[in-house]
Each structure stands twice: as C-alpha cells, then as structure tokens.
C-alpha cells in the first residue's frame, strides 16, 4: 500500500481528479463537519449581496482536504509527516479539481526513507488553486 523508495525517482508525477463538478451541497457538508460556518461559503444571499462575490466559494480547507485525498491514496495511510499549502485562487461551485504531486527528493534519515513532494491542484481551466508541499515516510 505504501510507496517504496526503490520505485520512486525525482520528477515522478502522480495526479488524480479529486472533485468533479463541486456542488454547493458538498461545501455545506464541509461546513457542517469542520464547524466553519462562515456564510461566505454557504449563504448565496450573503456572498452576493453583502460581500459582492459572484456566488459562494469553497473553504480553502476543503480544497486542502481534497488535495490530501490524492496524497494519502498515493503515499499510504498515516504516512505523512508534513503537509502544507498556499491558497492561490478561489474554488467555485461547478469546479473540477485535479491534484498533482511531483517527487522532489527521495532520501533516508537514520534508516527511514522519505519522499518530498511538490503539490499543485488545478481547476478545469488549468488555473492553480492550491500549491504546496508534503513529506511522507516510505518503505525502502
């Protein structure tokens, strides 16, 4: 299930579609689970009339969570030692996101192997919505 150092090379890419046609309901679902009820994400009237956005938009942390699924599906469960992102663009209802990890380094420390990954999640227009990095413990 987990990755092996011997199977990885710098520059290897793994990607996955992590949401297809994001629904407003999934954004509501994330609000409920996370406890972040900011109406900018779930309240069309507030988002458009009070703040002036075209519609509601996803929590950054929903996009990070979606990106995390690509990561854990690839590196294995419970293998991440760090995961960080920068939110570069809003994610809107209807968006389809593809999350990509690129191998930056494969290394060993005190007998434990690690992979360092660069992350990029893009929308259907190939615009980056999240960039970031992650490190995972891998097998030898």
């Amino acid at each position: 299930m987990a990755l092996s150092a011997r199977d990885l090379s710098v520059g290897d890419v793994h990607e996955a579609v992590v949401v297809d046609n994001l629904s407003r309901t999934q954004i509501v679902q994330y609000a409920g689970a996370s406890g972040d009820y900011n109406p900018i994400h779930t309240d069309e009237v507030f988002a458009t009339k009070v703040v002036g956005y075209p519609t509601v938009f996803a929590h950054g942390m929903l996009t990070m969570g979606l990106t995390g699924r690509m990561l854990t599906d690839w590196v294995g469960d419970g293998r991440l030692t760090s995961f960080g992102v920068r939110f570069s663009r809003q994610v809107w209802p209807g968006d389809t996101l593809t999350a990509r990890a690129t191998v930056e380094a494969v290394r060993a420390e005190e007998g434990q192997h690690f992979v360092d990954l660069a992350l990029s999640t893009r929308n259907q227009n190939d615009e980056e919505v999240v960039s970031g990095s992650a490190t995972a413990r891998i097998d030898s």
């Binding site: 689970a33 109406p39 507030f46 075209p54 942390m61 929903l62 979606l66 030692t81 992102v85």
Partner: protein
C-alpha cells in the same frame, strides 16, 4: 483555534471524510482498519481543523439569540460595517495552512488545542491594494501532553473584494 478538550470521535471522522469526498475505509471501517498497517481507524490529514467545533469562542458559528453574519430576514444579521470588514465574510481569507504530524490521530484521543501568535507582514496585491498577512500556530496535544499535530495558519486581509482574474 483554541480548545481545552477536543475529543476525537469515530462519527466525526466519518462525517469529515465524507465531506472531503474520501471513501477510504481507513476512516470508517473498524474491521478494515484493524487489519491494516495503521491497526485502527485514523483521522484524515486535515481533520484537526474541525477543532473549531470545540472552540467555545469560535466566531464563525451561529449562536442562539445572537446576531449572525449570514442572511435571514436581511442579507446580513450584523451591521454593514462589521459585515464588510475584511471582505472575507468572517474577517479575512485563508492564505496558507501547514501541518506537521507527530503521530496518527485515532478515535478516543482527547486533544487540547493551544495557539501561539506568529509574525505578520504586508505586501502589495497582484491587482492592487494592500494585503496584510498574519501567522499563528496551534499545538494539538494528547492527554499525556505529547504533541500530535502542529498547525501553522496564515490569514490575509485585503482592502477590497478579491476578483477572479
């Protein structure tokens, strides 16, 4: 996010995994998880964000009888000067989030979340206007006081609504 007691519960992990569209049985199927390398159900990597549910002062949760930012009879339940502040709706946008993992998080864990301030800085936005960034750290510890997750948050306030370019 600050919480004296953040109990990590199986049902909450299941709902959180559903919300991020992740059907991985490691988040919900006890038998599968017990037989896996992890030895039991774990929480997804961004789960600690849900500690907001246990932060008594978390501002982005409606409370009975208190004015609420979102719409009801009117488009916002709080005065316009407050609603307009920060333009992110709740007073700013999330710029960055980073987690460092010290061990797996399992149902039954009871965490505390304590915050430490970080630095703040400013820069010009790509479409003009000043961007003000501020950083904070949250330490999630178990009942033995051991670190489980360290989170670093960066928020940004803009002077006007961020348009899609």
């Amino acid at each position: 996010m600050t919480a004296e007691r953040f109990p990590v519960e199986a049902g909450h992990i299941m709902m959180f995994a559903r919300a991020i569209g992740d059907p991985n049985p490691i988040y919900s199927d006890e038998a599968y998880a017990a037989a896996s390398e992890r030895g039991g159900i774990i929480a997804p990597p961004t789960f600690v964000q849900a500690s907001a549910q246990y932060d008594p002062d978390y501002p982005l949760r409606p409370r009975p009888g208190a004015p609420w930012l979102g719409s009801g009879r009117e488009p916002t339940g709080t005065p316009p000067d407050k609603a307009g502040a920060g333009r992110g709706g709740g007073g700013g946008l999330h710029a960055e989030q980073h987690f460092t993992y010290h061990r797996d998080l399992h149902p039954g864990d009871v965490l505390s979340a304590t915050t430490r301030p970080g630095s703040s800085w400013e820069r010009e936005g790509r479409r003009g206007g000043k961007l003000v960034f501020s950083e904070g750290f949250t330490d999630y510890r178990d009942e033995k006081g051991e670190l489980v997750v360290t989170a670093r948050f960066v928020g940004v306030r803009t002077e006007r609504t961020v348009e899609e370019s």
